[in-house]
Symmetry: C2
Subunit: 465 residues, 2 copies
């Protein structure tokens, strides 16, 4: 519905919630946010009334009004900093595997099958619609090695209106014969083709951007990484890869790259360790590696669900944050079992609780902190912090309308329909506790509408503006 949609000036009326800082959530009960024809936030009013807004804001008299319904609030769209679009059909399928056997058992066969465009269309249409329905307004996607299928993913994101970084996966070793780059020049050429396609369909990168995507060090020879590093430096296109996910993988990298000091150094030597590189996982980094990442301003995608499901480990997010490293959340579908960043916010809480069991209470993340990682943190990771992540004048309207149904006096579900909502608000909860109920009990049913750059890109039947 997004591509053809005209935007009219709109005032979003009602409560809004967003991060002010890592530790502080702003809950504004009587808000009004004006969004112009370009999808940009023109004003943010707090503690106001509809009448006041129209009196004070010149030129907004005829603006469309969208009101909050069902005890809800506006919240910034979520940013998924690491998701394998091509693996979505395997979400939830992982058994007792760990990273390296999981790749061979589940992942490569599925990814390989996406050379078939009708399959790719089915998978990519589904994953983009599904993540939009969970409030993901920006996603940094891994596709596959296949150029046409990767370009199709970019087309689908643009058509459905989801902001995306679209990455064609590069790998020239340690993968099946049927699923790898034939040569380093081929890997670079194919990457250039995907970069060119993104530029052709969205020349200003307003919604779609390419991302250079070496799978991870074991899949790429040092020369291949170097060639992709050169491309990264030449084009200034963002890059993404994996790092330090589990211990056998780290050992493997040590064996494959004996000339490197450590895993992080492998990427650094290739010219890939920059402020425009997104590193997924970072579970077992040494202090020396963390220092180097901090120095290079390289970004980290924390993927708690995947790290737990594949028994990779518990990333020390508190320590990385304290060191000033920029972090966002990633679903890492399908190492991660869920396409929902709200679920990742919960999973980040659980991982921090497990760290706290051994490291002490200071390891705990708060609800405020994981919501920051899910929005502003993620925006910084993908280089969109000037455009999205919070409700600030000049940013673009990437937002979700959250509804929370209220139980009636006899204890009946919201609207009398049991399955309409997974959260029960009794009416006596504070605003902070309502937000907590959403974070720990909510799902896509609470996300009744989603906008990207001012365009409505998803709505449920419950949405009645």
């Amino acid at each position: 519905m997004a591509a053809s949609q005209q935007i009219s000036k709109t005032i979003y009326l009602g409560p809004f919630v967003h991060s002010k800082s890592l530790q502080e959530l702003e809950i504004c009960k009587n808000g009004a946010i004006g969004v112009d024809e370009n999808g940009k936030i023109a004003f943010v009013e707090r503690d106001t009334t509809p009448l006041n807004v129209l009196e004070q804001q010149q030129g907004w008299k005829d603006a469309k009004i969208v009101r909050i319904q069902d005890n809800g609030f506006f919240f910034p769209g979520f940013i998924d900093t690491h998701i394998h679009a091509s693996q979505y059909p395997n979400a939830g399928i992982f058994g007792k595997s760990t990273l390296l056997d999981w790749l061979n058992t589940y992942t490569f066969p599925l990814e390989g099958s996406l050379s078939d465009l009708p399959i790719a269309r089915k998978v990519y249409n589904r994953v983009v619609s599904r993540t939009l329905s969970h409030g993901t307004t920006t996603a940094s996607y891994y596709a596959t090695v296949h150029v046409p299928a990767t370009n199709l993913l970019a087309d689908i994101c643009l058509a459905k209106g989801q902001r995306a970084l679209v990455g064609r996966v590069c790998m020239n070793q340690m993968s099946p014969e049927y699923y790898r780059d034939e040569s380093i020049p081929e890997a670079v050429k194919a990457s250039r083709e995907c970069i060119a396609h993104c530029s052709s369909i969205d020349p200003t990168g307003s919604i779609i951007r390419p991302v250079i995507t070496p799978r991870f060090a074991p899949s790429c020879s040092a020369d291949c990484l170097r060639a992709l590093g050169d491309l990264h430096q030449e084009t200034s296109v963002y890059a993404q890869t994996h790092i330090s996910e589990n211990k056998p993988e780290i050992q493997l990298v040590k064996e494959l790259f004996p000339e490197s000091k450590h895993y992080t150094d492998v990427y650094d030597r290739a010219g890939l360790l920059t402020g425009k590189m997104i590193l997924a996982h970072a579970v077992h980094l040494s202090q020396e590696e963390r220092d180097l990442i901090k120095q290079r301003e390289t970004k980290i995608s924390h993927c708690p669900a995947s790290n737990t499901a594949l028994t990779s480990g518990c990333a020390p997010v508190r320590e990385l944050l304290d060191q000033g490293i920029t972090i966002g959340l990633g679903t890492d579908v399908s190492g991660g079992f869920s396409p929902s960043i709200l679920e990742m916010a919960r999973q980040a809480i659980w991982v921090s609780r497990y760290r706290a069991m051994t490291d002490g209470d200071q390891a705990k993340l708060s609800t405020e902190e994981v919501l920051y990682l899910a929005t502003r943190g993620g925006a910084e990771v993908v280089g969109l912090e000037d455009k999205v992540g919070g409700f600030d004048v000049g940013k673009e309207w990437d937002a979700q309308m959250i509804s929370l149904g209220e139980v009636d006096d006899e204890g009946a579900a919201a609207a009398g329909v049991e399955s309409i909502d997974s959260v029960d608000v009794f009416g006596w909860e504070s605003w902070e506790n309502r937000v907590a109920k959403w974070v720990y009990g909510g799902d896509d049913r609470n996300t009744v509408a989603v906008w990207v750059k001012g365009r409505l890109v998803h709505k449920t039947e419950r949405y009645s503006p």
Copy 2:
């Protein structure tokens, strides 16, 4: 809808899935299960056709037929072996607290408010409907100290048709003045009143049973525990309490009960450590305590979500199972943030993964194992293993119909409605993988109908028999 509903002989046709043993799930693709007018399973046919069933089963020609829809299967109802009905409004509200401060900050004020019957009605109607919608056909409930409100919970469970153990909470120390038993005789008298009420509304205990419920050792003096142990021995009524949840609590018990060898011994001295006692948590038991629990055939409720959220620890479920201790799953709402046993199955997997990170791969639970804990294991814990937990002739029909919508060729959601289902089946998945997708990605939307003892007690709008 349950209480007044007549049951007619019914054949449930289509795939069914249930546990054969701890390690083995039976997936039967062409099943037929006959349920008689008393809600009992009369036959279970595998690899059959509707025509064959009618030919082979005498007297079932006019039986009602309920067919599986939407790629689904019948699955046994879930058993929640530990849930505080009275705390349901606080689900998701826990902040950074741990057990002892959580009790004072969040829990006692809410529980105290349920002396008000209209509030109790609102809360209990909601929690029973909500857990039914998640497929919980049996729940072992903690209510509050209040006799009328506890009896109301029993009435509501009976009216809505949920199998329940209903426990009036006893506590004569270390709780607020406004919320405790005035004396030991008062605690016993009030417990007797609740036992009598359950017997009066359901004399054979076919659906509702009472459960003697000392909150936990710190809330009860040794004499109070002894008096409740005497009542337990005298009446043979089941008992439930908490044990060894977190370390400060264990230290507190040590100080309060200096005459006891350990936490488990506190209950043993009181006559409460029997085969009819359900102990929730059991996170930090010593080997000596485990041996005693095994010897006494006392049951354990594993509450992974609560143990994680409150940073209590990771229960060593693999070790307890290997020792032959009987274990089920508990939501422990609201220490646990979710009323869903399916979510607990997932959380048990995560907890086992965290144990595996330090203890090695043998600590991992499998999908099959957590589904066993959620059904047959839970049935053993609450003493209903002869009636529920699996699809065996002679057991009662406590079941859920699971539906899994299928994505179309263009990648559109099942039935074209995004929010109807949280699981996407692409069509090429094996049966084992479909079950995995449900376990790791499913929720109450997939539970389209629920039966207890042959009675339909919940259905969604998606159910079309």
